[in-house]
């Protein structure tokens, strides 16, 4: 399962990067970024997964003593939790930028969103 998840995540990352590199519309670029982000999260969770194990929550089915041999790695999950929220914050700020840029130049074309010359 890990393999598939990792491969899928990696492809998602690449698709996201592709979007960031080739799309002209900045909203699309931000979409590309969020795909990239999601792909990363899939990779992270996939990497923490161990075959035939369960979620790291102690309950009646999962006594504390047996937990170590039956649960998946909790650390990547914790990291992803954080990463998702961070990703959201970044996306939000990017979107705010995009909106502001659109309002000032009436275009979403990234190649036109730069100063007249580079001086």
């Amino acid at each position: 399962m890990t393999h598939i998840a990792l491969a899928g995540g990696a492809l998602l990352i690449l698709i996201g990067v592709w979007g960031m590199l080739t799309k002209k519309n900045i909203i699309r670029i931000i979409i590309g970024f969020s795909l990239f982000d999601t792909g990363l999260h899939v990779v992270l969770v996939g990497l923490g997964h161990l075959k035939n194990r369960t979620a790291p929550i102690i309950d009646s089915d999962l006594p504390r003593e047996a937990a170590a041999s039956r649960v998946v790695d909790p650390v990547p999950q914790a990291i992803v939790l954080t990463a998702i929220v961070i990703g959201l914050a970044v996306t939000a700020v990017l979107l705010a930028f995009a909106l502001k840029l659109y309002q000032s130049r009436k275009t979403l074309d990234i190649s036109e969103l730069r100063e007249g010359n580079n001086d």
């Binding site: 670029i29 990239f36 990291i79 961070i86 580079n118 001086d119």
Partner: protein
Amino acid sequence: MINPILIIAIALGTAFSLGLLKKLGRELSFAITLIALAAMAFISAQWLSAFLTYNMLGPVVTTAGGRAPFVIVLQMGHMEALFTLLINVMGVMGAFYLHDRLTENGNGAMAVLLAGIMGLNGIILTGDIFNLFVFLEIASIATAGLVLLVTDFKSLTAGFKYMLASGLISGLFLLGIIFLYNTTGTLNIRELLIAVPGTIKAGSVASFLVMMAILLEMKPFPANGWGIDLYSGAPAGVSALIASASATAAYFVLIKLLPLGGTVAYKIAAAVGITTFVASNLVALSQRSATKLLGYSSIGQMGLVVGIYGLNYHLGSKAFLIIFSLLGTHYLAKAGLFWLSGIVQSTEIDKWSALRKSPVLFVLFGIFVFALMGFPPFPSFFGKWELIMGLVASKLYWWAGAILLGTMFEGIYLFRWFSRALKLDNQELAKPRSTIYTFVPPLVFAILLFPAGYYTSTYTGGIGIMGFAPLLFIMLIGFLDFLPAYIKNILSIAGVAAYSWYLWPHVQGNTFKIVFAGIFMGGALLALFAGFYRRGKHLGFYPTTLLMFLGLGILVDASNLMELFYGWELMTIGSYFLLIRGERSLPHGYSYLLFSLGGSLAMMFGFGLAHASAGTIELSALNHIHVLPALAYSLMLVGFMTKTASLGFHIWLPGAHGEAVADIHFMASAVLLKAGVFGIILVLSGMGNSEPYARNILLVLGWIGALTALIGNIGAAFQESAKYLLAWSSIGQLGYIVFGLATMTHLGWLAAYGYTITHFLYKGILFLIIGGIAFRVGTADMYKMGGLIKRMPFSFLAVLISIITLAGIPPLVGFTGKWIFYNMIVSEHMFYQGLVVIISGIVAFLYLFRLIHVIFLGQLKDKNRRVKEVYPWLLIPAYAMLIGVMVLSMFPNTLLGPLGRMLSTAFPKGALHWDGYTASTAYGTFNMPIIMAVIGSTFAVVFLWLLLANRRAVKVKQFNIFYSGEAPSRPELTHFGYNFFAHYKKAVGFMAVPLVTRFWDQVSEGLHALAGYGRAIYTGNAQSYLFHIVGFVVAIYLITMGGLS
């Protein structure tokens, strides 16, 4: 000890509470923000002071009450304390500067700032790699927010690009982190560093990704377009924060994490860093926008320190000293410059001349620029010195060369900027507005640069207290700049006298040092005395003059190479400010500085080789260098020759000197140039002439000297301005000296020393008097003068005697030099170079004659009918030197005797033999007193006879002769004195073609073209920047990892 985690807690608590404080008003919120930042700074400071006082290990602070590797830990050590202190101080200052912007935007903005600074602190303190990632994100998102303190299109695009780029980079970082965790099972950095070499085989892609991310955070070339746009797009105060605080924190990440990548990471960092340094500075050459320039420069500087960290194993124990000094200078100076850019309110570099309307701000500007360029007494001077010494000692020549090249590029644009700000017209421009908020931070940082420099020097050694103490005096004079000139003049003379008093015991007994100390200090006293002729305040003159003379004093006093270089650089700064004072001297002062800089860098490399060879920086290291000796000596000679204005490096001189006023011209030509001679003597004494390479170098040097003499003198013959004439003449005279030294014979050196001293005297007279005349007449163009002999008889006499001396006409002392030259030429069979030197001596006669004739003789101009004699303040020093000339003329053995005795130890063969007053060599003899007596008495007899015969002659008024048809419209065309030697020009004018100038012009054009190509990659398009980032990662991956493994 205060728990360092409180830094984070204070920042966050304050940031969160700002939301509640809205009602209380923004000023109060601002004050609370400042207090919070200050508290953070205090925590760092008290840790740092504890570390410096007690030799202790920093604590590891665990959170959550858990066991160390499994919970997030914070590390507080020496480095952390220092770095957080830097960041928090910058936080306080930056926030203070941003007062207007912050209060305008409200509490949210202040909270963002606090959170950003907190993030940077977290980056440094945290001992957990994912936690570091989180703090990085906080910092970068806060940065993007701060950019928006001013919302315009520029800052919007800049922020957007930055967000996109940093999003991509942090994605890669996260990927690397998780795979590192996957392979090592830990996120604790310390554990990772232990685990990495064991569990990961070489070429771990995970650590590669982490490494790429941290390198990309440093904005490496070419994947840094977003960084440059950020610097130029952000409001000035924010750019300052980014350049100082963010870059510093990012650098600390590099220090912390680079070891994860193993040795290859260091190599990559070195290559990437130095490439960035060179390329950014190259690209910056064609920039006209101040903030962009600063952006490139910041990126370049950070590239440099990254590169140094990559090379740190080669630098040994000095590595961190170097890093701290360079980083610290960058931190202070770059912040200061960005702050100033906010005050100037124009990104156009040419508009910075407006800054002159606020002199204090302008002084700060100068301090920052010179600090950035590694001039003493700032920390970067010591850093750069140790860097080059270390690199060269480790045989990393190409690295050192690249760094020097990059520094040169940086100098070109920074100094162009500074020079233009210093000289361009600012009538039209508004005075820059600064408030207390925008004024204090740059002031504080500028002041901090000085103690920082001193502090750094205590770690490097080499410079004693006398390298710094006089600077305090100079600063005092600087503070007193509002006083009238004569008071400052008196103070300055006292200062120089005191320094001379200090210097005397150090040079006593060493003829070589006495000669130069005499020229430098004597020159200083004479020049300052002459300075009494000025009226008004003469702003900025005294500090810079004293700086130059201090540099010269240190040069003589130097007991090691570092001190020598220190003095040299101080002298360069001081002299630059003197030379650029002239009316039209902008391009000349600028090129002077560039040549000086290039020379210094070459010299530093040479010193590096000397140090590598001898293992010490004592002056004795110059003797018999055996590491690349030919290169070492050549570089040092080139370095010193930039100051003697030898052929190829002479193009700065005529303009720079020609535009200077009397006393400055005197200092620059008669005194300053001798510093180069001093250096060449040192180098040649060390080199000797026994090795084959030495002979080749000497051959080239000899030709350079000879041709310099010729070109200088021919150039002088074609000048219309008396000052330019004298300036060209100085080039020629220095050519003689270089030639004499290059012969490496007793006579050659004797002549060189003789010229050094006599040139000081007779040229000194000429500079003072011609300068004084130009001041009186209001022009230096000779054809606008004429007939001044009646108005200025004392000047005339002094000029007459000095040109007789200069031309080498017996019986005055100039002849002695010529005579020695002839003897040397014949005895050494140096006919060809000798011929060139002799020809130039003859050419000298042409311009000298023109000088005296066109100024003093001929027809008096109507407007000069009432012109007065030159100020006595100028005449008195001139006549003092005149007495010197006469004494030496009559008794040349008083000068040549001691010099000969000194030289006999180095060159026992071919010494001048003295028999009473008769000097003789194997070839010729001369007896100056007899020559003097014969010629003098003949002269007297004939003169008296003539006077007697014409005792009843009636004096004719000067205007009692017909006016020889000079058309008033364009008088210079019809004036006989204009284009005096036109026929000469027709015949040999090809030698005056400015080939060298053309050469340097083309070098500069080429560089700019290159810069243009480099700049083409910075399209301003965010997407291209993303391309660069991905391309950078992939390319380095393919290069270093070679694909599959």
